[in-house]
C-alpha cells in the first residue's frame, strides 16, 4: 500500500484548517482528517475472482457559532481554495442553524494513553500476492474439510487507517493503525437440502491470522447444519456465541449504556447506576485501550483520550459511556467514546471494545453442563428488536440442539423470544474462549430459561 498522506501533512492540515476557521469567525472549531487504505482479495462462489483497492481520505470540520454547530466534509484536500470554501460553508451552516443552549465547549487537551498492538508495519507493506495466498489457504482448508461445503463468499483484506485531530482548545493528535482480516461464508448442500449461511472470520490488528482455521471451521459449521430438524416450544438453556451476542446486544444493551440514550429517556438503565441489572457472573468494561483491540486508539473522534470504563461489575451497573457533549451536560468527563465514520460524520457516542470478562470453563464444559438447550451461532432479525424495551423475537439460525451435554442435531425455523435485560440476569456461565467481533469482545455465554419457539 502506498500511504498517501504522511503524519506531518495530516497534522498540519488539521491545525491550519482550525486556524482558518477561527480567523473567519468561528467561536470554536475542530478538524478531523482521516485516511483509509484497504486492499482486498475476494472469493465469490468457490473461487478467488476479485480484487479491490479503496483509497479514501478527507477532512471534516465542526465549527461553532453562537452555540450552533455546523459541519462540513470534503475529500478534496489539495488546493487552498477548496479547503477555504469548505470552511466558509461550515460557518454559513453554523450561522443558519439553531443555537443549542446545552452546548458547552469542545474538549480541552489531556494526555493520551499509550496503546499496544494496534499498528503492524508488515500489514502496511503486505503485497497483494500474500493476500491471494491467505485467501487461497482458507479456501483450500474449507474444501478439504468436506465436499458438501460450498464457500459462497469471503476473502482476505488489509487496511491502514490514520487520523489527525486539532481543535481551537489546543487538542492535537495523530494516530494510525492496521487491521488484517479473513472471512468465509459457507453453505452445505446435500440431497435437496441447503443449510443457512455459516460464517467464520478472524480479524486482528497485527499480521497474525489463521486462515486455515477460518476455512476449516466455516466448512465444519455448514456441514453440521445439515439434517436440520424442527424443535418444540419450551424454555431452555441457550449458549450464545460471540457473533450471536453481538447481534443481540448491538441495538439493545450497548445502546442502553450510551449517555445520549440515557439522557433522552430511551434507556431502560436510566437512573439505575448502582443497581443490580445482570447476574453476578456478568462483568463488562468498555475498554478503549485493550491490547490489539479492533477499536483501540489513543484518542476518540473528538481528541479525548480513550480509556477503560467499568460498565457492569458482577451484575451491578457502574457507568454509562459519554462523549464530550453528553458528559458536559452532566458536569462529567467524557469517557472517550465519541466515534466517527471516517471524515464524513460528526462524532457520536459509541462503544469501543465492549468486553465481557471471560470465565474459566472451556466451551466443552459450558456445553457439557446443559441437559437440554440450544447452541446459537447467528441470529436473524436482531435489528428488529425493540431498542428501548430490549424485547426481541428473532430466528436462531444456524443453531444446534443440545441434549445431555452434547450437540444432538441442527435445528431449523427456531425463534428466540424474550427481553435482553432478562437475558443478562439469567447468565449462568461464561466460557474462556474470548473473541473479538466488531466492538464486542466476548466468549460463549450461557443463559438459562430462554423461550425457544419451535413449531
Amino acid at each position: 500500500m502506498v500511504v498517501a498522506l504522511k503524519q506531518e501533512e495530516t497534522q498540519s492540515l488539521a491545525e491550519n484548517t482550525v486556524n482558518l476557521a477561527m480567523k473567519k469567525g468561528a467561536d470554536e472549531a475542530e478538524v478531523f482528517v482521516y485516511q483509509g487504505i484497504t486492499s482486498e482479495i475476494v472469493i465469490k462462489r468457490g473461487q478467488i475472482s476479485r480484487s479491490a483497492r479503496i483509497i479514501d481520505q478527507g477532512l471534516g470540520i465542526r465549527a461553532i457559532v453562537n452555540k450552533a454547530v455546523g459541519f462540513s466534509y470534503t475529500n478534496t484536500l489539495r488546493g487552498k481554495t477548496a479547503i477555504k470554501e469548505v470552511v466558509l460553508k461550515t460557518l454559513t451552516f453554523a450561522r443558519a442553524s439553531k443555537p443549542d443552549e446545552e452546548w458547552r465547549d469542545l474538549p480541552t487537551k489531556k494526555p493520551f494513553a499509550s496503546v499496544e498492538g494496534t499498528y503492524d508495519k508488515d500489514i502496511v507493506e503486505l503485497p497483494s500476492e500474500d493476500l491471494v495466498k491467505t485467501a487461497s489457504m482458507m479456501l483450500d482448508a474449507a474444501e478439504k474439510t468436506d465436499k458438501r461445503a460450498f464457500p459462497i463468499e469471503g476473502g482476505a483484506g488489509a487496511s491502514y487507517l490514520s487520523m489527525a485531530i486539532a481543535n481551537s482548545n489546543g487538542v492535537e493528535g495523530f494516530d494510525h493503525g492496521t487491521i488484517v482480516e479473513c472471512s468465509l461464508a459457507t453453505i452445505a448442500r446435500e440431497g435437496g437440502e441447503v443449510t443457512p449461511v455459516c460464517f467464520e472470520f478472524n480479524a486482528e490488528r497485527s499480521y497474525n491470522i489463521d486462515p486455515e482455521w477460518v476455512g476449516r471451521e466455516a466448512a465444519r459449521l455448514a456441514v453440521s447444519a445439515l439434517k436440520a430438524k424442527k424443535t418444540e416450544t419450551k424454555n431452555t438453556s441457550v449458549i450464545f456465541t460471540p457473533v450471536a451476542l453481538q447481534q443481540l446486544l448491538y441495538f439493545t444493551l450497548i445502546n442502553a449504556v450510551k449517555a445520549d440514550h440515557v439522557q433522552r429517556g430511551q434507556s431502560a438503565f436510566k437512573g439505575r447506576i448502582g443497581e443490580k441489572v445482570a447476574s453476578e457472573n456478568v462483568t463488562i468494561c468498555d475498554d478503549g485501550l485493550l491490547k490489539g483491540g479492533l477499536r483501540t486508539w489513543r484518542f476518540d473522534g473528538e481528541g479525548v483520550p480513550q480509556q477503560k470504563t467499568p460498565v457492569i461489575e458482577r451484575g451491578i451497573l457502574r457507568n454509562f459511556i459519554y462523549d464530550n457533549y453528553t458528559a458536559k451536560r452532566e458536569g462529567k468527563n467524557s469517557t472517550g467514546n465519541a466515534s466517527r465514520a471516517g471524515y464524513v460524520s460528526t462524532p457520536k457516542v459509541e462503544a469501543t471494545n465492549f468486553r465481557f470478562t471471560p470465565g474459566r470453563k472451556t466451551p466443552e464444559e459450558l456445553l457439557g453442563e446443559v441437559k437440554e438447550g440450544l447452541l446459537v451461532y447467528y441470529l436473524q432479525g436482531a435489528h428488529s428488536s425493540n431498542p428501548a424495551s430490549g424485547d426481541f423475537s428473532v430466528v436462531a439460525t444456524p443453531a444446534w440442539k443440545i441434549k445431555n451435554g452434547e450437540i444432538a442435531y441442527a435445528t431449523k425455523g427456531t425463534m428466540l423470544a424474550g427481553n435482553v435485560f432478562s437475558v443478562l440476569k439469567n447468565v449462568s456461565a461464561l466460557a474462556n474462549n474470548e473473541r473479538k467481533i466488531g466492538q464486542l469482545v466476548s466468549p460463549w455465554i450461557r443463559v438459562e430459561d430462554v423461550k425457544v419457539v419451535g413449531r
Partner: protein, 461 residues
C-alpha cells in the same frame, strides 16, 4: 471529464490489455441534518469527488476507488487495479465473462419541481423542526424524537471500453423519523421514512404533519398493546409489510449472484413456488420512486423485470456477469452506493401485483390471527428462512380488527409461506427504504394487502 475517463479506459484496455475496463466518476453534494428532540445536532454538508475504476484481466476483476478526478491519478490506479486483478487471477478456475450489451451514449438531466440544492438550509431546518414538533406535541407520553435528513445531488459519469458514455444526474431526498414513548415502565418505538428521486416536493405530500402524526400515534397506541401469543396463525399483511416480505424473503433470493451462491431459488426457474395469485416485479422505471434510475452502474438501461408470474419463477435480477452465466439479458440491477463501491446486484422498486379482494374480505373469515400493518426490520437467509419484525400489528378476532399487539415478528420458510397466500387485495402502496448488502441502496417496496393462511408468529416473552 469525457477525456479524463477515456484516457484511463484506454490505458487499461490498450496498454495493459484488460478484456474490459470502465470508469465511473462522481461529483456529489450532500446536505444532512440530525435533530434530537428538536435540537439541531449539526447542520451538515459534504462534498465528494471520486472515481471507481474496474477492469477484467485474465477473467478476474480488479477494482480501485480513489477520491479524486485527476487524470494522472485515474490512470495510475486503473493500472494498479489491472495488476491486482492479474494477481487474483492466478488461482482462477472459471474466468468471468460479461454478457453483450448495447453501448449507450446519453445524457440524463433531472427536472425537479423543487430542487433541494436550491432550498436554503433554514427551510430544511424548518421542515424537520415542524416534523419534530408534530411528534413531540402529539402526546405527553412521547418521550423522544430523532430525525435524520439527507439530500444528495450530483452527476455520474460512466465510460467503458465498449463505447458507452453516460452522464446522469442523481437526486435523492430522504428523511427518517423515530419516536419513543413510555408509560408505566413500557417502552415503545416507532419509525417512518420518506424518500424520493423526484425532489423536495415529496414533503408537499408527505408533510411534516402527516408523517409526524403517523409516527407518534403508533408509538402511543403501542403502549396499550397486548403481548403477542407465539404460535402458528392466519395473518393479513398490509402493503408496507408485504413490501418488505417481497424484498427480504423473496427478492434477495432472486438476485442472481445469490441464486448462483445456492439460494433456494437455484433450481426453481420455470417452476411454481407460490399460489397462482402471486406476481412479483422489480421495477426501476417508476417516476420519482426512491429505487428508480435510467441507467445502472454498468451502463445498462433500467427496466420493469417480472420475477414471479402467477406463482411461477420467470426471471432473476442480473448484472452483466450473472446474465452471461444464465444466458439471460442483463436487467439493469447493477448498482453501487458511490465510487467507493463496486456495482453489485441490487433491487430497485420491488412489489407484489394487486388483485381483487377488499380489506374486509381478507379479514372476514379469520377467527383469531394478526393484522401486520408496518414493519420494523426484516432479514432472510439463502436457505429461504426469513424473519420480519413488525412495529404495528393488531389482533384479528372473529373477522374484525382487535387490540394492538406489541413486538410481533413472523418467520418461516419463504417458499412454504408463498404457497399459503390465500388472497390478494386490490389496493396498492409503495414505501421507500434502504437496503444493506455490504453497501446501502435506496429502494422502494410494496404491494396490496394479502392474506396468508398460516405463518409462525413469535411474540414477546
Amino acid at each position: 471529464m469525457k477525456d479524463i475517463l477515456a484516457k484511463a479506459v484506454k490505458t487499461a484496455a490498450q496498454e495493459f490489455g484488460a478484456e474490459y475496463a470502465e470508469v465511473r466518476a462522481q461529483r456529489l453534494f450532500k446536505t444532512m441534518l440530525t435533530l434530537k428532540d428538536g435540537r439541531v445536532e449539526a447542520a451538515k454538508q459534504g462534498i465528494e469527488n471520486g472515481a471507481a475504476l474496474r477492469v477484467l484481466v485474465n477473467g478476474a476483476w480488479g477494482f480501485a476507488s480513489v477520491g479524486t478526478l485527476d487524470a494522472g491519478a485515474l490512470t495510475k490506479y486503473i493500472l494498479d487495479a489491472c495488476k491486482m486483478a492479474e494477481a487474483a487471477s492466478s488461482k482462477l478456475k472459471t474466468p468471468i465473462k460479461l454478457v453483450e450489451t448495447t453501448a449507450v451514449e446519453d445524457k440524463v438531466f433531472l427536472k425537479p419541481k423543487k430542487d433541494p440544492s436550491k432550498i436554503s438550509i433554514e427551510d430544511k431546518i424548518n421542515t424537520t423542526s415542524a416534523l419534530n414538533d408534530t411528534v413531540l406535541g402529539y402526546d405527553e407520553r412521547v418521550k423522544s424524537c430523532t430525525i435524520d435528513y439527507l439530500d444528495l445531488a450530483g452527476t455520474n459519469y460512466f465510460m467503458n471500453n465498449e463505447g458507452a458514455y453516460i452522464e446522469q444526474e442523481k437526486l435523492y431526498v430522504w428523511s427518517r423519523v423515530t419516536a419513543t414513548a413510555k408509560e408505566a415502565g413500557v417502552f415503545t418505538f416507532s419509525r417512518e421514512e420518506v424518500g424520493s428521486t423526484a425532489g423536495y416536493e415529496v414533503f408537499d405530500v408527505e408533510t411534516p404533519e402527516i408523517v409526524g402524526e403517523r409516527t407518534a400515534k403508533r408509538a402511543v397506541e403501542q403502549l396499550k398493546a397486548k403481548p403477542t401469543k407465539g404460535g402458528v396463525f392466519p395473518v393479513v399483511i398490509g402493503p408496507n409489510v408485504v413490501g418488505v416480505f417481497v424484498h427480504e424473503a423473496f427478492g434477495h433470493l432472486a438476485e442472481a449472484d445469490l441464486t448462483l451462491s445456492g439460494s433456494v431459488l437455484a433450481d426453481k426457474l420455470g417452476k411454481t413456488i407460490a399460489s397462482d395469485i402471486v406476481t412479483f416485479y422489480d421495477d426501476g422505471t417508476i417516476e420519482g420512486a426512491f429505487g428508480s434510475f435510467r441507467y445502472d452502474d454498468e451502463g445498462v438501461t433500467t427496466q420493469k423485470t417480472v420475477l414471479v408470474k402467477d406463482g411461477v419463477v420467470v426471471g432473476l435480477m442480473h448484472n452483466r456477469e450473472t446474465a452471461q452465466k444464465f444466458n439471460a439479458k442483463p436487467t439493469g440491477n447493477a448498482r453501487a452506493e458511490d465510487f467507493r463501491f463496486e456495482p453489485i446486484i441490487r433491487m430497485r422498486n420491488t412489489f407484489m401485483e394487486p388483485k381483487d379482494h377488499s380489506f374486509e374480505e381478507l379479514v372476514e373469515d379469520v377467527k383469531f390471527g394478526y393484522y401486520l400493518k408496518s414493519f420494523r426490520g426484516g432479514q432472510a437467509n439463502l436457505d429461504g428462512t426469513f424473519q420480519v419484525g413488525i412495529q404495528e400489528a393488531y389482533e384479528i378476532v372473529k373477522g374484525e380488527l382487535g387490540a394492538p399487539a406489541r413486538d410481533v415478528s413472523i418467520s418461516g420458510n419463504t417458499l412454504e409461506t408463498l404457497l399459503k397466500v390465500d388472497a390478494v387485495g386490490k389496493d396498492f402502496e409503495l414505501w421507500p427504504g434502504r437496503c444493506g448488502k455490504g453497501q446501502t441502496a435506496f429502494i422502494c417496496d410494496g404491494g396490496p394487502h394479502i392474506k396468508v393462511r398460516e405463518v409462525l408468529v413469535g411474540g414477546g416473552a
